[in-house]
């Protein structure tokens, strides 16, 4: 089900079945364009499929926005090894709640997207990695998988193609890091979710040491539409190099928070004002975290911006996972910064020194600062430590922690300084150790 009212401004191409009765059933799916795309794809060569995806300018919806067609093209075929199709439904980026809806309301769309990926690299096995907290979705997706087997869309000799494809769900067990693709693969293999050294990238050495297509749930979910309507039609929905639509997850201080499917490049201020009904309680906008908690915050005056990967990158932030947290004028940025770094310290896998120690140290400073024990020198120290992590950690989690922290300090320094002038807590500031 949907948990918020849709907006008339939405352009629903992957969420239009959400409102249908019995939307998860294969009959509903088949009655509404279901498994049409895979029939088309089965008549296409891998090269043609990849070309169509390139034309669509579909980019990964997990966060990094890597062009999907290119990613599929990196998978070597004919290595003699099996190949795998992995769906990243480990949705854990704070601010993001879209994969949940896609699996809850339209699991067959995801399966069809994975089928097309599987056919492209002649894979015989796909896994949907679902975060452990989404247990009810495993039941829904498992049911859909069973239906697809019954109707011959999964299993042996799919649609008479002579090609076999199995799909399984796999549960996570609570680890944000497993959203990082190589950590996800480690987790899928029954290990700690520690990211792998790259290269080799998962396309070449992925699941079970074999070539692998690994995409986000929303990315796969967009694939059937592309093959039904053509890559060019998909591309035309968005902005150059940012094809199609995406599910924008809006949270925070707006009147109508919710998940809305909008074309890439949709203006942020229109999203806030026209779709989400503006800032609640008549307050003013202070800032927006535009792409999940790892994306650097945008001040209100920076929010006149189209929501696509390139525009946000130009503004030194990122579209990330499409989770937008809208913050009003009363928001305590220090508290947000503290909660953000607490999250990354909790989720750091601990593998590399700068992330493990950096997130922990920042958390401790910000906790003290937030509790009224801050020092003027802490403000620069926080920025400096974030800088010492940035670009130097094993995987992107360190950057994901450092970037927003640095942005909080750089853009809201005044708020941090104001904290120093608030009533001092009784907590004394520890002396520096003499070493």
């Amino acid at each position: 089900m949907r948990y918020n009212e849709p907006s008339p401004l939405e352009q629903m191409i992957i969420s239009y079945r959400f409102d249908l009765p019995n939307s998860t059933s294969i009959d509903t799916y088949l009655a509404n364009d279901g498994y049409v795309a895979v029939k088309k794809a089965l008549a296409m060569t891998p090269e043609a499929i990849i070309e169509e995806l390139k034309v669509s300018s579909l980019r990964g919806r997990g966060g990094a926005g890597f062009p999907t067609g290119m990613k599929w093209s990196f998978v070597p075929r004919n290595t003699g090894k099996p190949t795998y199709v992995i769906c990243n439904s480990d949705e854990s980026e704070p601010g993001t709640c879209k994969d949940r809806l896609l699996m809850e309301n339209d699991p067959h769309q995801l399966i069809e997207g994975m089928l097309i990926a599987g056919w492209t690299i002649k894979s015989n096995k796909g896994y949907i990695f679902i975060r452990g907290e989404y247990r009810y979705l495993i039941e829904i997706v498992d049911r859909a998988i069973a239906e697809a087997y019954e109707r011959g869309y999964l299993g042996k000799n799919i649609l008479g193609s002579g090609w076999d494809f199995d799909v399984y769900t796999h549960t996570g067990a609570g680890a944000y890091e497993c959203g990082e693709e190589s950590a996800l693969l480690e987790s899928l293999e029954g290990k700690r979710g520690i990211p792998r050294l790259k290269p080799p990238f998962p396309a070449v050495v992925g699941a079970f040491q074999s070539p692998t297509i690994l995409n986000n749930c929303e990315t796969y979910s967009a694939v059937p539409w592309i093959f039904r309507n053509g890559g060019a039609a998909y591309a035309a929905l968005g902005t150059p190099k940012n094809g199609g639509t995406r599910l924008m997850c809006v949270s925070g201080h707006v009147n109508k928070p919710g998940v809305y499917e909008l074309p890439m490049g949709f203006p942020l201020m229109r999203l806030i004002n026209e779709i989400c009904g503006g800032i609640r309680n008549g307050k003013k906008l202070k800032a927006v975290i535009p792409g999940g908690s790892s994306s650097p915050i945008l001040k209100a005056e920076e929010c006149d911006i189209p929501l696509d990967f390139d525009s946000l990158a130009k503004a030194k932030t990122m579209a990330g996972s499409g989770g937008l947290v809208v913050l009003d004028e009363d928001t305590d940025i220090v508290a947000v910064a503290l909660r953000t770094i607490k999250f990354y310290a909790h989720e750091s896998c601990g593998w590399c020194i700068p992330c493990r120690e950096g997130t922990t140290w920042l958390k401790k400073i910000l906790s003290r600062f937030h509790d009224g024990g801050g020092l003027q020198s802490d403000i620069d120290l926080i920025g400096e430590l974030a800088g010492n992590m940035l670009g130097r950690t094993f995987c992107a989690l360190g950057d994901a922690a450092a970037m927003p922290t640095a942005a909080f300090i750089a853009k809201f320094r005044g708020e941090f300084e104001a904290y120093l002038n608030k009533s001092r807590s009784t907590q004394s500031v520890p002396e520096l150790a003499v070493v």
Binding site: P94, T171, A173, K191, G193, S251, E347
Partner: protein, 166 residues
């Protein structure tokens, strides 16, 4: 170790779902599903999973330490998880958390003396647009105010809680 027939059936399906020789993949799902049935990860379970998946107990131990949903100590019959991450925080999750601690007289990761309820402050649950959110076991509850929280806790206490009502 013996499990319920349903769980055994799930385990059998799990072990079949991974490529030959890759049964280690089943370690995390087995632990989580078994924990749901027996309450926590016991040493006996560690040995059992290690045996069934063809790994050493140490390799299972390593996994347990890593994943935040795997617990060595029993949780309450109802595990109440309150998200306080930024999207929930923006709409009152910290106040909700304080309220929860007070109402249940429990701290983070504590279990009520009768074993009925355990409380945990958790990271983003994926309900940001319908915040603040909590999970009771695997059920989501959205837009949870302190008043709604109290009603839910009352229902847990008097046995009238029924799955799914968000």
């Amino acid at each position: 170790m013996t499990f319920s027939p349903e769980l055994e059936a799930r385990f059998a399906k799990l072990l079949e779902s991974y490529p030959t020789g890759r049964q280690r993949s089943a370690v995390v799902p087995m632990l989580l599903y078994a924990q749901d049935e027996i309450g926590c990860v016991t040493q006996e379970l560690v040995e059992e999973v290690a045996h069934r998946c063809g790994v050493t107990p140490l390799q299972v131990d390593e996994v347990i330490g890593y994943y935040s949903m795997l617990h060595r100590k029993p949780l309450g019959k109802y595990h109440v998880q309150v998200c306080t991450n930024i999207a929930c925080q923006a709409v009152g999750a910290e106040e909700l958390w304080d309220h929860a601690c007070e109402r249940l007289r429990l701290g983070n990761k504590e279990v009520s003396p009768d074993g009925l309820i355990s409380l945990e402050e958790v990271e983003c649950l994926g309900a940001c647009s319908w915040a603040p959110a909590i999970q009771i076991n695997y059920d989501f509850h959205h837009h949870v105010t302190p008043e709604r929280f109290d009603r839910l806790m009352d229902a847990l206490a008097n046995g009238s809680y029924s799955k799914k009502a968000s």
